[in-house]
Symmetry: C2
Subunit: 338 residues, 2 copies
């Protein structure tokens, strides 16, 4: 077990390294932090910390830098979450309040997070797995051509074209529309399949084929919609990454463009509360030199999606976590209002 002071030394190392981006030595530590002991003592502590794998030296006769494991300990035990200043809070609120629709909310959130943390921001669109159906609309574009429009409670709209085998009368259409809505409006996506299962049976023989087609398209759409989307911004901040650009930045950009990868990453994070994944803890190897801070957000108690930032492992964790959490809260509020 590490003594209190050694933890304090680790904290100091992390803080200094994050600030200066340079390996930190024993002497510098005693000068910048009131640890109350001499450099020699610190050296012993550092040696112990290194034995335990919390810090490492880039090369002999250089200072120490934290390892992923060191950051882990720092985040878990040593760092708090730094609350934002009240001007910052006001700025967030003002900025988000101007949003006009869901796309705009997400877009503004991304820009806000990127600017606040000076890192890459990732915002997932509200997930539809827990969403409910607000309305289903059926339109006849032509006698044997329908359009299905699905509206969700999170404000998303999806449409699909349907080619029917046989013409479908206006009355049948109105009938189907009414019955469909009475069954599924307000229900969760996951419950829809069984709610509509027996619907074709209640129609006349001629119409059953079309009704079945419509239902299968609806179910398909629900499944597709459950696949999540996300928006990413602030990639220019990657240029402040470190000295050895090309090699570091490239895989990160590639990973960020693969939305599938990022969605998987978000999926691995806790649904509630904040998750910090440090360096190699990230499954994707392109992100081995980055940390990902994520948190769920939602209009009510339940999280409907996640947002977060991607930055170098050498990041200001308390500040980043504070910003991420604050933004998530405000976005939740905005969503609840609309």
């Amino acid at each position: 077990m590490l003594s209190e002071r050694r933890l304090e030394v680790l904290r100091a190392i992390v803080q200094d390294y994050v600030g200066t981006e340079e390996p930190v030595g024993s002497k510098a530590l005693t000068e910048r932090h009131r640890l109350g002991v001499s450099p020699a003592t610190i050296r012993n502590d550092m040696a112990a910390l290194e034995d335990e794998g919390f810090i490492a030296q880039p090369h002999t006769s250089a200072g120490r830098i934290p390892t992923d494991k060191g950051y882990r300990l720092f985040v878990d035990k040593l760092a708090g979450v730094k609350p934002l200043s009240s001007p910052e809070r006001r700025a967030i609120q003002n900025f988000l309040d101007g949003a006009v629709d869901l796309d705009d909310v997400v877009g503004r959130t991304v820009r806000l997070l990127a600017q606040l943390t000076r890192q890459v921001a990732v915002v997932q669109y509200p997930s539809l797995t827990r969403s409910t159906v607000r309305h289903v609309e059926l339109l006849a574009l032509a006698p044997a051509r329908l359009m299905l429009v699905l509206i969700t409670d999170t404000g998303r709209v999806e449409q699909r074209l349907i080619d029917c085998q046989a013409p479908f009368g206006e009355t049948s259409l109105a009938d189907l529309r009414a019955r469909l809505n009475s069954r599924v409006v307000g229900r969760r996506f996951a419950d829809v399949p069984q709610l509509v299962q027996d619907l074709p049976e209640s129609f006349e023989q001629d119409d059953r084929g079309t009704v079945s087609t419509v239902l299968s398209v609806l179910l398909e759409t629900l499944v597709e919609e459950t696949e999540e989307r996300l928006m990413i911004g602030g990639t220019a901040n990657l240029t402040r990454f470190g000295h050895d650009f090309p090699l570091t930045i490239r895989p990160v950009l590639e990973a960020l463009e693969e939305h599938v990868v990022m969605l998987k990453l978000l999926g691995e994070a806790k649904d509630s509360g904040m998750t910090v994944r440090i360096g190699h803890e990230n499954a994707h190897e392109g992100l081995a030199s980055t940390s990902v801070v994520t948190v769920g957000y939602g209009s009510g108690d339940e999280a409907v999606a996640k947002l977060g930032v991607v930055g170098p492992t050498r990041m200001d964790y308390p500040g980043t976590m504070g910003a991420v959490r604050a933004v998530a809260r405000y976005v939740g509020q905005i969503l609840a209002e609309s």
Copy 2:
């Protein structure tokens, strides 16, 4: 006026520099290209080209590199458009054929272009200025709350919530829906305002307020939708930019994230035919070290949007132009089919 051979020298310089990314000298030129003259002669030609501002030396006793003006001449007079190989064509077609909806088409196009040119791809969504209305749907979510759904012929769907001052009966709603559609379906966005202008008058006094509200929301949506969107991909390719990363890459990433900037850039390009903007020809200063190759694409003869790539001024112009043009053609075909 420059002699034939001097143009040939410029062409050789551009080609070599694009390939090696290093200043090219007179000796190397004679070795790699059959110019039929000695290095000394080339030197004279190079001096002349430099006087005219087509090439420059990074420092004394180094080779020459093309200037923006040199690339300009190269593109205008010396370079053709390199057609793609037929396997490449097939690959494009296969890849694009798998698309399921508009978002998917645009998404695939971006990935395709980025991969083909190994540069940053920019694809504008089909513009709605020339689009027509396919359908307008009105739904009553609550007695005094409507939802407007607009469907365009390019397959886009937009919805808006409308809070009415007074409840709006189901029959009035059906009436409005029918009349609205009979007037605007198949018409261009730009024509809609005058087509619906007198619509409120034909309704009963009580409903006129709501009808007006609905119409104003519709017009607003049309205007908003006319604002163009775009998708960008392949930013990881920026890492192959040059040696002096941070300074070069950063403003480019920033510009790319500002979609407004990119849209303006596309807007400045010719509507038909290919446009190449080289280095400082780009209005945005962040793109001073990049060239932008764009071309319009569309389902018919008319271009409905533009796509292109952003890369270093030191790019393979013939190849890039070939890829951009080919992709634009295939996307046009796909759009025409759907």
